[in-house]
Symmetry: C2
DNA sequence: TTATACAGGACTAAAATGGTACCCAATTAA
DNA sequence: TTAATTGGGTACCATTTTAGTCCTGTATAA
């Protein structure tokens, strides 16, 4: 289905929740309550988001989580990458040629182009967009005509 | 990683292989040899592609698999859907509201828009493109500015 | 009629995913 | 200084998904 994992979905929801009240720190328990998900799971998700530098945390009483940068500078691709790793459609489109089928494959290059277009799309959607309850108007025309595979395969 | 499953990857490679020689019927064993993958696995993949009406099969001696329609009319989205089911980023973007968290979620609509844009992108890539060894120039500018969620949520 | 080749389903093994629990570290406030 | 609060890290387990294999049946062509 080319689906996001459930944790990624949670991450997006939680990030959006924080983005709607960016001033205050949000405790894991409070967020879990707000989004109606089990506390330990939300907590795990938050930790991953901190590790990915999308959130900053403050321990102790009155502590909690805040956005590491403005919601407009956090993208859907960032959130997905935080939980699932970098966006890449195929094994071979993420790392250097560790696919020994490359010779017989014949579609690798083109998948990489598609992959890159997907990533560009996901990078054009920010947390502000996701958190907003009004519909996104995706602002950019994707530069897919000029996609180069160099940056991917290198 | 938002990655295709391995079987989907195989499916694309096999489809491309058939697309390069569209006149003749291709036996599973022959294809397995050509793409250097185990026969039973390729066979399973082929069966799924037949079920999805992307290939037609012919039993008996000299039988095998052929494209059900021209490569230019088979899209990446078709191939992915054949193996993984319909392209949808989140649980709730595929079926009717079977997500009881919708109330607290607050990002469902926007994920659906993103989902739709992804699908549009994948529908713009055909098997001809994938099978071609020269780089794709993705031909369409995505109509993402005018994306409506109606078709998805309905 | 026999060899070829797909159809369908059952089965198993392995891996990813999701969820939980536990204990430690840091901070704050009484 | 101590207690309460809150995140950090790790390890573990259950479940689901994925991948791969095998077996038996059926259609077709020579």
């Amino acid at each position: 289905m080319l689906k996001l994992s459930r944790l990624t979905d949670y991450a997006a929801v939680v990030m959006a929740q924080i983005a709607r009240h960016p001033q205050q720190a949000h405790a894991a328990a409070e967020l879990a309550e707000a989004v109606q998900l089990p506390h330990p799971t939300v907590s795990k998700t938050l930790k991953m988001l901190v590790k990915a530098k999308l959130l900053v945390s403050q321990r102790g009483a009155q502590g909690g989580y805040r956005l590491a940068r403005p919601a407009s500078q956090i993208t859907a691709a960032d959130i997905i990458a935080a939980i699932e790793g970098p966006v890449a459609m195929t094994e071979c489109s993420q790392a250097e040629g560790d696919c020994e089928l490359a010779a017989t494959c014949g579609v690798a290059d083109n998948w990489q182009r598609v992959s890159l277009a997907m990533r560009t799309l996901l990078e054009s959607v920010t947390l502000s967009h996701l958190a907003d309850t009004t519909p996104i108007k995706l602002p950019v025309q994707l530069p897919i005509q000029s996609v180069s595979v160099a940056a991917v395969s290198a």
